[in-house]
């Protein structure tokens, strides 16, 4: 092991294993996760080449091969618990990208959620056996998050009892679904249902797209890969054009809405029920955001402990770059953020399961807040993580740009999370809609509950919004409770400003939508402030519950750093709202610098606690043993350009250039 890293590990003030247990949920979970990871690490069938040296086509092939092997192995290993499947896949798929991914995450769950018992009997077995490989085709070339704008139609023909699925325009071509291009033979297609001359909105249909046996596209189907992307090279994101393509009536998923053989439409009982999957996926994404940032932090922090550069004191050996204040200021707030988001992700997942049980009992009361919260927090966390990964990469200097660092891959794999499952700005505005509703409710004299209950305390009934004197208690920057309170005030203030500006616009314009658009910058700001408060609050709650003294002390420091750093980044909001003074802001900045120095000795142990295997990190710079430079040189030698000593381009182009003079 690199001596610098060994020293770092020896000097930690706490046992990282304890944090690993907390992150996994229990020591037992940690044990089982490692057991599963070792199955993969020790299995020769899972050894594979470094993706970075493969062409796109080769990467796709390796990914499909892995999926095929995986189905068999999971059966052999007896892995069926959803969490365990996740552990298995996360280690085995470096980027967690697999062409059959949507088959498991969307196709089968949709079948289960929206298919009748008869439909499940018919489709589920072959799907579980992978004779049917399915995907989920929602977005179109011209339409994304705004679902009502989708153009694909499913017109019912009572004569033959079939639906005619059609892509009427170029913009209506299904675009982006994973696994659609080359892998899947079926797709669940979302289309506008038209029966008896009337459009009933979006419904889901099972559409066979490739022929069994030959895997050729069926007549009427045009399907293919959408070409090269920023990342996700292993994935065949696809396009699908359907040309008056007929499917039997039974292929419409009819657990809720139905079309009778004569074409009569039967309405579903409750539309909100279909929100479930969306809420689930978004809350899951928060956890993934934390994970991706944790990986990037692990790489950047380990490398910063190994890399030596420049001088702090003349004549002394070059210091580890982790000793530079600027480097700490880049990385430690992100480390704190990774921990914060990890706990938020856990909370979202637990809340989802709790609310889901309520829903199953018919109690939908908490659904609106959960729906808004998952939308907003998904956008909030993915935006920050997106920027954070890039920050980690740049903190690795030039080598961060090489694929050997592994961070470019983490970035390009993660960044779609800002767009998919709901474009982030749209998500923030969805949360804002909930906040505005809550604000109106308080305004009309009713109390609100949940995370927005601070709106009950708004002094807004007073005529001047500036009169926040009621709250004019001094923020104590050494108290996490007091700091959380400061975030709460900021959120309350920005929600109120957005609400007032919205009202002002509404009184000036006829259309509510136009007013909404003209207030949207303020609305997004309000949502962001609310999310920030939620994260701070949840982080503090979690840290307070930790038993082990040493661990709690370390995490408290991270919680302080997260909270204070956020205040200094958004200083304008806190100063403008008279929540804090300029003098306090100086103290905040001073305290941040102190915290950086306090966290410094534990930095490497804190990323070790994430417990990523080198295989998962896929990084030469972030290796556990810290032997960076030797391995970087070895890695580079594998580059395809190094296959021959003299590249063929020399003879073709360079030599003539030199001689034709």
């Amino acid at each position: 092991m690199n001596p610098d890293l060994r020293k770092e590990r020896a000097s930690a003030t706490f046992n990282p294993e304890l944090i690993t247990h907390i992150l996994d949920g229990s020591p037992e979970n940690t044990r089982r996760r490692r057991e599963i990871e070792n199955l993969i690490l020790n299995d020769p069938d899972f050894q594979h080449e470094d993706y970075n040296f493969l062409t796109r086509s080769q990467r796709y092939e390796v990914a499909v091969k892995k999926s095929a092997t995986m189905v068999k192995k999971m059966r052999d290993f007896g892995i069926s618990d959803p969490d365990e499947i996740m552990w298995f896949k996360k280690l085995q798929l470096v980027n967690f990208v697999e062409p059959v991914g949507l088959h498991y995450s969307m196709f089968i769950p949709t079948l289960l959620n929206q298919g009748t018992t008869a439909q499940q009997e018919k489709w589920l077995h072959p799907s579980n056996e992978l004779q049917i490989i399915g995907t989920y085709a929602q977005t179109e070339m011209g339409h994304g998050t705004h679902l009502r704008g989708l153009e694909t139609t499913a017109t019912y023909d009572p004569k033959t009892q079939e639906f005619i699925i059609n892509s009427p325009t170029v913009t209506s071509i299904k675009w982006w679904p994973g696994g659609l291009g080359k892998t899947s033979n079926h797709a669940i297609v979302l289309a506008q249902l038209i029966t008896q001359g009337k459009n009933y909105g979006l419904h889901a249909f099972i559409v066979p797209i490739r022929e069994f046996g030959t895997h050729k596209p069926l007549p009427g189907i045009t399907v293919g890969d959408i070409g090269p992307k920023f990342g996700y090279e292993e994935m065949d994101n696809g396009f699908l054009k359907m040309d008056n393509y007929r499917i039997p009536r039974e292929n419409m998923l009819m657990k809720y809405a139905q079309v009778k053989p004569d074409g009569t439409y039967v309405k579903p009982l409750n539309n909100k029920l279909t929100y479930g999957t969306m809420v689930f996926v978004r809350s899951y994404l928060v956890g993934e955001a934390a994970r991706s940032l944790s990986k990037a932090c692990t790489i950047a922090i380990r490398y910063s402990a190994v890399r030596r550069q420049s001088e702090i004191k003349p004549g002394e050996p070059e210091p580890q770059i982790l000793d530079f204040q600027t480097q700490q200021y880049k990385l430690f707030p992100l480390l704190a953020t990774a921990y914060a988001f990890h706990f938020v992700g856990k909370y979202m997942k637990e809340t989802y399961y709790r609310v889901n049980e309520d829903i199953n009992r018919g109690d939908l009361s908490e659904l609106p807040e959960l729906h808004a919260l998952t939308a907003g927090v998904k956008a909030f966390t993915t935006w920050i993580v997106n920027a954070g990964i890039e920050e980690c990469r740049m903190a690795c200097g030039g080598h961060g740009y090489s694929h050997s660092s592994g961070i470019p891959n983490i970035y390009v794999t993660f960044t779609p999370a800002c767009t998919f499952e709901g474009e982030n700005t749209v998500m923030m505005l969805q949360m804002a809609r909930f906040l505005m509703k809550s604000y109106d409710q308080v305004h009309s004299g009713k109390l609100v509950c949940g995370m927005v209950s601070y709106l009950n305390d708004l002094p807004s009934q007073r005529i001047q919004p500036q009169q926040v004197a009621v709250w004019q208690t001094m923020v104590d920057i050494n108290s996490l409770d007091s700091l959380t309170e400061a975030y709460k005030r900021r959120a309350a203030r920005l929600v109120e400003i957005a609400a007032k500006n919205l009202q002002a616009e509404q009184s000036r314009r006829k259309s509510k939508e136009v007013a909404w658009n003209l207030a949207s910058v303020d609305l997004v700001r309000a949502s962001e402030a609310h999310c920030y408060f939620v994260v701070v609050k949840l982080f503090l709650e979690k840290v307070s519950k930790i038993q082990d003294k040493a661990v709690q002390a370390v995490l408290r420091n991270l919680c302080f750093l997260y909270t204070l750093y956020g205040i200094s980044q958004k200083a304008g909001d806190f100063l403008e709202g008279n929540i804090m003074t300029g003098a306090q802001m100086m103290q905040v900045n001073q305290r941040i610098l102190e915290l950086l120095a306090v966290i410094r000795p534990n930095a490497v142990a804190l990323v070790d606690a994430f417990d990523f295997k080198d295989l998962t990190l896929g990084s030469v710079l972030g290796r556990y043993d810290g032997n960076v430079y030797e391995n970087l040189f070895e890695w580079a030698k594998k580059s395809p350009l190094n296959k021959t000593e003299v590249h063929e381009s020399f003879h073709k182009h360079l030599k003539p250039l030199q001689s034709k003079l």
Partner: protein, 681 residues
């Protein structure tokens, strides 16, 4: 003259018809787009020359970028060398002058997809650090490609901190040679472009050791490949450093030197000389050997990352004018996403900055031109300011261009993730600029040192400054400062003097803080280096504020000069206002901190900012047209001039090798999976 659509288009099936949604954006023109293009080009004759070169490139299939995004590293490299070769043949045929602008325009027209670009860095260094005899010997050889040159500075273990470089050049008076050596694995030269597979001669930066003493970093011309068969010369280990985020067309390389001997004459000796017996003589200052880097840094500002941001603006603004999504009123058709305030707030600050940085980069180039001659002749008085500006401004431009390009990419929703949009490539290129030619944090800190030094000079000896004035860019440090901003309405924030003064105030305050805190630390016993590290964040903040101030000020002065073009002046004023206010609002804490702005004033600034958005909205597409990038160099299915986004995206996707070649996984893996049941039956 032919219409823009013919001039810039790809000439494919959709070019003949302009999409009505983008056509309508161009129908009413509140300003003269062509004049703005001329201004950006630096004169109408430059615009004409550029378009002439672009049409040559466009009409020559050898320069095509079709299929670019699906190529492997090897293919990209070869295509880039092929284009370079072809370009040189064209240049010789047409007799393009060696130092003319034609090659720059050609580089722009193929969107930088060329190889052998490090030649320019080599030449910059040779001309700044080499003696007249050395220039006479090597310059022509290099320009004629008799030798293929590159520049090797960074090492596996060392980057921006040059003093830490480990490669050694030990002078051997017995043979009058330098022995160039890589003593450790971390000393391996790493990253230099064109080294991996192409270069024959490399300018190696190494620690000079002669007469038993370390003399610091110097530059040496080292032959690395045979001019006969291109194989590495004895003692040389060289190769490609492997896959990167982008710039796969360039063979960034590694280079290990095992006691390679080169003649004494191969050390560049304008500012330092080693005589045959090994006596060392310094002719310049310690900084003068960095002059080559300064020159290169300034020269890449005007294209480099700035072009990436400008192109990202073109693509995302045009696409936002064509993309329709959701409705503002239930009865209306879906709206152009460019009409959403949230979208405008993402894109227009980027557009404003891409203009602001143009004027900033241009002014820095002019400064370089003015001082180049005197520095070469040994007058180093203006070097510190030039050096400081080249560091801070480079850091600011590349940082904000990289972030801005990514904002533009994400503003295009899912399609921004497709390489066919062109945006991922732009983002990945812009981001590379944040580390090459100096890591940005380190560069900001270098600028901060210059600021603190001048601040202290002005404060400690106020009398002396009257005889020896502060360099122009920091003159404001001694100017009288306002304690409070006088703005009373939102409209007051549209006054250039007002916001420039606001930025000057914040920059002064932060520089003062950094200087005082460092002083306090040293007075309480910390040594100077430790004090610098302890106050690094303050310095960083100070340097950033100063750079933003310079940006706003330069933009303001450039717009003021347009008095004879009121329409163009007006449209640029809006961008100037927006860039200044965008900066104030994203850093409002710094302005509120000491009460310079009150909360109410920040609200006014926000109102002024939001009111600018719909005004810029009207001109947005035309403002991006004015950059006058050809469709070929944008190479984007989303960003073409004609706005036919979807048809082109579908066509380009279908041409992807994943669709034209056989599915490699089907027979081997998918078929056995799918047909298991059949097999079992």
């Amino acid at each position: 003259m032919r219409s823009p659509v013919h001039r810039v288009s790809l000439g494919d099936a959709w070019s003949s018809r302009v999409h009505p949604d983008i056509d309508s954006e161009r129908r009413t023109q509140s300003f003269d787009v062509e004049r703005l293009t001329n201004l950006l080009d630096g004169g109408v004759e430059n615009t004409m020359l550029r378009r002439k070169v672009e049409s040559i490139i466009r009409n020559d299939p050898a320069f095509s970028l079709r299929g670019h995004y699906s190529m492997t590293q090897n293919e990209l490299y070869e295509a880039a060398v092929r284009r370079r070769f072809h370009l040189e043949m064209v240049a010789r045929r047409l007799g393009w002058p060696k130092d003319g602008r034609e090659r720059d325009y050609a580089y722009r027209a193929v969107s930088g997809n060329l190889n052998l670009t490090l030649q320019d860095v080599f030449l910059n260094a040779l001309r700044s650090l080499g003696s007249d005899e050395q220039i006479a010997k090597w310059d022509q050889l290099c320009q004629d490609y008799q030798i293929i040159t590159s520049y090797a500075q960074t090492e596996l273990g060392h980057g921006t901190y040059l003093k830490g470089l480990e490669t050694e050049a030990i002078y051997d008076p017995a043979t009058q040679e330098f022995v160039i050596h890589s003593p450790t694995i971390t000393a391996t030269k790493w990253w230099p472009g064109d080294i991996g597979r192409s270069a024959t001669h490399v300018l190696v930066l190494a620690q000079l050791i002669c007469s038993g003493a370390q003399r610091g970093m110097h530059a040496f011309i080292v032959p690395i490949r045979s001019l006969e068969d291109h194989t590495p010369l004895p003692g040389i280990t060289v190769g490609d450093i492997g896959p990167k985020m982008e710039m796969e067309n360039i063979d960034n390389g590694f280079l290990r030197l095992d006691r390679v001997r080169i003649p004494r004459e191969n050390m560049l000796n304008r500012f330092a000389q080693v005589s045959p017996d090994g006596t060392y003589k310094r002719l310049g200052t310690e900084q003068s050997n960095y002059f080559g880097m300064v020159v290169t840094r300034v020269k890449i500002l005007a294209h480099g990352a700035l072009h990436d941001l400008q192109k990202a603006c073109v693509i995302s603004v045009r696409y936002s004018a064509v993309r329709r999504q959701s409705r503002l009123r239930p009865s209306d058709p879906e709206v152009k996403i460019l009409d959403f305030q949230a979208q405008q707030q993402k894109l227009f600050p980027q557009l404003a900055l891409s203009y602001a940085f143009h004027f900033l980069a241009t002014s820095l180039l002019e400064l370089l031109d003015r001082s180049y001659g005197s520095i070469l002749s040994g007058d180093f008085r203006c070097l510190p300011e030039l050096h400081a500006l080249s560091t801070g401004v480079k850091a600011m431009i590349t940082d904000l261009c990289a972030q801005g390009a990514e904002v533009c990419r994400r503003a295009c929703g899912g399609h921004g993730y497709s390489k066919l949009s062109g945006l991922p490539t732009l983002v990945n290129r812009a981001t590379a600029a944040c580390t090459y030619e100096g890591e940005n944090t380190v560069l900001y800190l270098q600028m901060a040192r210059f600021l603190v030094k001048n601040y202290l000079k002005a404060r400690l000896s106020p009398g002396a400054t009257s005889q020896q004035p502060l360099p122009l860019s920091v003159a404001y440090l001694t100017a009288p400062d306002l304690a409070r901003c006088p703005a009373q309405t939102a409209t007051d924030f549209l006054c250039p003097e007002l916001y420039t003064a606001a930025w000057a105030h914040v920059a002064t305050r932060l520089i003062k803080n950094a200087a005082h805190d460092a002083q306090t630390l040293t007075q309480s016993g910390a040594d100077q280096q430790e004090a610098l590290n302890q106050t690094a964040l303050l310095q960083l903040q100070a340097a950033k504020a100063h750079c933003y101030y310079i940006t706003v000020k330069t933009f303001k002065e450039a717009v003021e000069r347009l008095d004879n073009e009121p329409a163009n002046q007006e449209v640029l004023w809006r961008l100037c206002h927006l860039s200044a206010l965008h900066g104030i609002l994203t850093n409002s804490g710094d302005f509120l901190h000491d009460g310079f702005l009150s909360g109410a004033q920040v609200d006014m600034a926000r109102t002024a900012y939001l009111d600018l958005l719909p005004q810029i909205r009207k001109d947005a597409v035309l403002l991006t047209d004015a950059f006058d990038f050809t469709d070929q160099c944008l190479n984007s299915a989303l960003g073409c001039y004609d706005g036919n986004v979807y048809e082109r995206l579908f066509q380009w996707a279908q041409e992807s090798p994943t669709n034209t070649q056989k599915n490699p996984a089907y027979e081997k893996y998918i078929r056995p999976l799918v047909q298991r049941r059949t097999a079992r039956l």
